[in-house]
Symmetry: C2
Subunit: 484 residues, 2 copies
Amino acid sequence: MKENDRLVRNITAKSEDFSKWYPEIIRKAALADYAPIKGMMVIRPYGYAIWEYIQAHLDRRIKSSGHENAYFPLFVPESLLQKETAHLEGFSPEVAWVTQGGADELEERLAVRPTSEAIIGHMYSKWIKSYRDLPVLINQWANIVRWEKVTRPFLRTTEFLWQEGHTAHETQEGAQEETLKILALYKEFSETELAVPVLSGEKTEKEKFAGAQMTYCIEGLMSDGKALQMGTSHDLGQNFAQVFNIRFEDREQTLQYAWQTSWGVSTRLVGAVVMCHGDDSGLKLPPRVAPVQVVIVPISVGDWKETVLPVARQLEVSLKQAGIRVKLDAREEFTPGWKFSDWEMRGVPLRLEVGPRDVKNNQALSARRDTREKQPLSLENIADPVLKLLDDIQNNLLQSARKFQKENTHVVGDYAEFKTVLEEKKGFLKTFWCGSAECENQIKEETMATIRVVLMEEDRDSGDGGCICCGKGSQEQVYFARAY
Amino acid sequence: MKENDRLVRNITAKSEDFSKWYPEIIRKAALADYAPIKGMMVIRPYGYAIWEYIQAHLDRRIKSSGHENAYFPLFVPESLLQKETAHLEGFSPEVAWVTQGGADELEERLAVRPTSEAIIGHMYSKWIKSYRDLPVLINQWANIVRWEKVTRPFLRTTEFLWQEGHTAHETQEGAQEETLKILALYKEFSETELAVPVLSGEKTEKEKFAGAQMTYCIEGLMSDGKALQMGTSHDLGQNFAQVFNIRFEDREQTLQYAWQTSWGVSTRLVGAVVMCHGDDSGLKLPPRVAPVQVVIVPISVGDWKETVLPVARQLEVSLKQAGIRVKLDAREEFTPGWKFSDWEMRGVPLRLEVGPRDVKNNQALSARRDTREKQPLSLENIADPVLKLLDDIQNNLLQSARKFQKENTHVVGDYAEFKTVLEEKKGFLKTFWCGSAECENQIKEETMATIRVVLMEEDRDSGDGGCICCGKGSQEQVYFARAY
């Protein structure tokens, strides 16, 4: 167990220092590395594979709900970005500008897209002519650049990968329905695939997307008690349609502006998976997005290459045939103990050990990453119990995260209590808010807490309460937290 | 048939003017549209779906041959791009430069990646320490920007999408083997999935990738008799390893530079599919990359909504269940004749018509896009014959393209004949070349033809011939063509 200890010593324990643990485990598990450009990262194969599973699960949902993928240009001419004033003000401090092409100075600066409403709005104005062209339901998988001052791998980087949906509708109701449909889709996706439970609701005026009528979001609680915005869905109203002149002839032959939405999630979700489930030993990946779901470690003693290894190889084949993502770690330069803790650190949900005694008993010893429970499994039809265990692990991660969220959500009634709870317990603070930007700003300045979601009407408790800051009676129930 | 005529009149016939037909069909079939930025395009859903099938088919092959995907930054600092001199000279005229981030002027210009050897080389120097770390087999799906003077949708655009493989090996033989393995993979992929037969071979010194030791490529013949480079695989030798200091401790504990390769195909392949198979009526898509493989057109006469439509819907369900990409066109504002020619123009491989008589006979009338053959199919277990027809269409497209390529490949022995054949027949000209840049340049200047591939030794005919330009005896057999 010496190597085992040595390996664990290489990472700061999460329980000791979360903010040191996070970047260390990202690099140690080879999810990502720092790039030689300010605030940029390289997503390494193990991290990128998680993103590929996120993409696959989400893309399936996006398509089966009627959307199609397309691809719009990376560059947005400055004049287009300037059209929507709030949008410009929101994004211009973060824009990287291309000013030279080959040997030539450009006549107009080109923004490297910080988001694509402007360029897409311009194209929609050419494509949408009649109500028959609506709805337009388009999604794009793309890279985005925002010149961020403070960055952290996956959570906030100068470049990131995301999907951005951009839809146009005949009616206001059509756009509202779409916005909420995607919000529900994101919530279901996050809980089913990432095992990360989320709150959903509205953003405040201050926190909404630059140019939107209303922003909805999902918010997860990370295991250090801080909130993470994991996805947003914007009802754009006719704001962009008006400035980009997206008009259609309606059923009564009059010209109308289209109603639009936009929505997105990004590689930030990889960070959410790390921060929600990880522990002192490293990552704990939900089976549905784990690049390796099962690792087989042969116990390398005696004549293991002749006795144990062939059985391990056969086991690998059986699991592969059942569609399980399995890896056989037959490396000779490492001991089984070292491999155990290495794969634990990398978050593989299930380990199967095969040693001489297991071969004799026609079994493998399973070890769960989440509960560390061990259980012998007969090699006969082993895929069935393995699939069952993977399901159990996925469910257990979600239930544990739900329990954590519940235990770290505090209903608070007065401001002094608010401050104490925030300092001592962290997590979500459920309370009332009068709706004024003054109170919102004051709370942020004094406590660094922000309103993560304003509950939608159907989610509110009946009755009202006093604003946590000014005491004014209010029906607006909100969740505060410190956030990433 | 009036609408039918009208629709066809909207596109220039391919046989009349290929270079007008190409951009017109791209827009008419809604594959792509022009963007408001010089040389950039928007890939619309129908065109992007073709790219998604190309990606899926190719990604499967890349992964099953042992490669993993990753993601490297969009920006490359100028100092990194400058390290490999030939590489810099090759790419610097085409680079878009970011010079401002937010409100700040950057201290160092950042290139929007024209390719990623430099940034990846930098990272590999950090990751590769021992022979145990090799081979590194990484692929990336990404967008690329090259400031092109003359652009054409899909074929040459300022921004395009591609995959770029970047591998590092312990030995020179390892890198050579990888380069050729990928070349063979590209050829098999192009022929199996795109139904586009290709020549493969080496590039000349003049045409090789900036910084490579040797470039291999696949070249397709478009139906106007011009060649298209469809993919390249580069043996980089130790060129980049030396300038980026990618060194490893070998099995004898001495430091060695790694041997590298890089290889890529791009959205240009969508253009290849259009130009290889299209005809006067529009696109002709190979079933394996067609977004819609089968379109069902109900014949809208009399009480069709009560009689025909339910049968058409049931047909749609049966085909979907068999995994076929099917679309039911039940639009009321268009006649069946208009729909026939619209879907023909969009290249859907197979049409199924369902009219009142078909319902009575429990059948659908199939019409192939490639041969225009019609054939009634019983609705009983209809998925089987439909799948069989789709296979036949895929094969027939490949065979037709092979036949075209054969008929348009001319063995020429003297320069006068070379010029006449090139002018009158176009296509590939197979001949001998002495290997000198002088002859290569002279031929290009005088005829606009370039050497598309130098045949590899095992593909050459036995014996030698005289260089088509200077007459000097040579064993270097080459294919010339005018190219995109």
